[in-house]
Symmetry: C2
Subunit: 224 residues, 2 copies
C-alpha cells in the first residue's frame, strides 16, 4: 500500500482531500500544524477527521509563526475582516504558510518513504492566497525533488491537489459521496471560545454558500 | 538600508555569509533553528556571531525535527560517521532541512519586508547534501515568488549564496579578511558536552583541512 502525507487543517477542503486519498488506496499519514493560529479547535477537528477517515497516523507539528505575525490569524492586533469579498490578498493570508507546511510534509515523507503529498488547495471559491495556486504547487514539487534525495525515477514527489479546480459546492458533493462527516470540520477564522463559527468571515461565507449551492444541509454550528 | 534574512547555523560557512551580507550593506536579521539537533552549542555560537558581526536582530526558531528523525543529527539511534569521505549522501543529511529553513526565512522576510535571504550553502568542500546545490536554491527562489505576495517587480526573492563555488580554504580567507572570528564558530557534528569538537566527523575534517590549505591557524577547540 503506497503511503501518502495528507495535510489537514480541520476544515472542509482538507477533510475531503483525505477522503480522496483514502479512496485512491493510500495509507494516509495526516499532518496538522499548531502554528499559533487563533483557535485550537481546528487541531481537535483534524484529529477527529483523521480517526473518522481511517488515517494510519496523525501528527500535530508545533511551530510558532506568531513570533513574527504578519496575518490576522497569527497577530491579535490585526482583526479578521467580516462580510465581504475583495480584490487583493486579504489580511488572513499567513506569509509562506503553505510553503512551510509542504516543506515539513516533504521532510516527514522522505523519512517514512511517502512520496505523495495531498493538499486541499483550491483556486475557485477561495480567498485569493498566492500559495493556493497551481503554479506554486508545481514549482514546489520541482524544488522538493531538487532539495531531497531524489536519486531515481521512482522517487518523484507528487503533490496531489484533487480540489484545485472544484467549486466549494463540488467539493462538498464529492466529500459527501465519500462519506465525509462535515460536522467534524471547522472553517471559521474567528470562532467563539466554544468553537462555534462566526458565519461572517470569508471562510464561513464561502463554506455556507457551498452547502447552499450543493443543495445539502449545512451542519455548521454558528454563533447566531 | 536594505534588509536581509541571514540563516545562521553557528558554523564557519554561515558566519562568513553574514560577514559578506554586512559588507554588502544589508541590515541583517539572523535566523537559527533549534530543531532537535544533537548539541545546542551551535545556538549559542549563532547568538555570539550575530552580536559580533552587528546583526540588527537575532531569532532562534524552535521546531522539533527529532519527532520523525531520519538523520544522525536528529536521531540518537543513528551514529555520526567518523573518519572518511563517501560517494553517497551521508546519514548526517537531515531530510528537507534547507527547504524548511528557507521557507521559514521567506515567511519572516515577507513580514518585515526583507526580500533578500543569505544562506551559506557550498558545492565544493561539502558533505554532498542535495539541499546545498545551486539548482535547488534557484528553484526555491522561483517557488517562493509564486507562493508569496510577489505582486510586482520590486518584490522578487533573491537567495544569495556567496559561498556556493568557494573551497573551504577560500571561505576561510574571505571571512578572515572581513574580520570573522572563527573561534566563535562551531562545525562539529558530535562535540563533547563542553562543546569541544571531535575532529573526526566529516564536518571537522573539512573544516580543519580548510585552515591548513588557507595557511591560517585553526582556532577550533578539539577534544584531543
Amino acid at each position: 500500500m503506497k503511503k501518502a502525507i495528507v495535510l489537514l487543517s480541520g476544515g472542509l477542503d482538507s477533510a475531503t482531500c483525505l477522503a480522496v486519498a483514502r479512496k485512491e488506496g493510500f495509507e494516509c499519514f495526516t499532518l496538522s500544524f499548531d502554528y499559533g493560529q487563533r483557535h485550537k479547535c481546528e487541531l481537535t477537528a483534524s484529529e477527529n477527521i483523521s480517526a473518522a477517515l481511517g488515517a494510519a497516523q496523525h501528527r500535530t507539528f508545533k511551530l510558532d509563526l506568531r513570533q513574527w505575525g504578519g496575518s490576522a490569524l497569527t497577530d491579535d492586533d490585526i482583526d479578521v475582516p467580516k462580510g465581504g469579498t475583495h480584490d487583493i490578498v486579504p489580511v488572513t493570508y499567513v506569509p509562506a504558510r503553505n510553503l512551510i507546511f509542504l516543506s515539513l510534509a516533504t521532510a516527514w515523507g522522505e523519512v517514512i518513504g511517502a512520496h505523495d503529498i495531498f493538499i486541499g488547495v483550491n483556486s475557485v471559491d477561495y480567498s485569493g492566497y498566492p500559495d493556493c495556486r497551481a503554479p506554486f504547487i508545481a514549482s514546489f514539487a520541482e524544488t522538493a525533488k531538487l532539495g531531497t534525495c531524489a536519486v531515481d525515477e521512482n522517487w518523484q514527489w507528487q503533490i496531489h491537489t484533487p480540489l484545485q479546480n472544484l467549486s466549494k459546492a463540488e467539493i462538498i458533493k464529492l466529500g459527501t459521496g465519500l462519506g465525509v462527516d462535515y460536522a467534524l470540520t471547522t472553517s471559521c477564522y474567528d470562532p467563539s471560545p466554544e468553537g462555534r463559527s462566526c458565519g461572517r468571515c470569508d471562510s464561513c461565507l464561502l463554506r455556507h454558500q457551498g452547502f447552499v449551492e450543493a443543495g445539502l444541509p449545512d451542519p455548521t454550528c454558528y454563533i447566531n
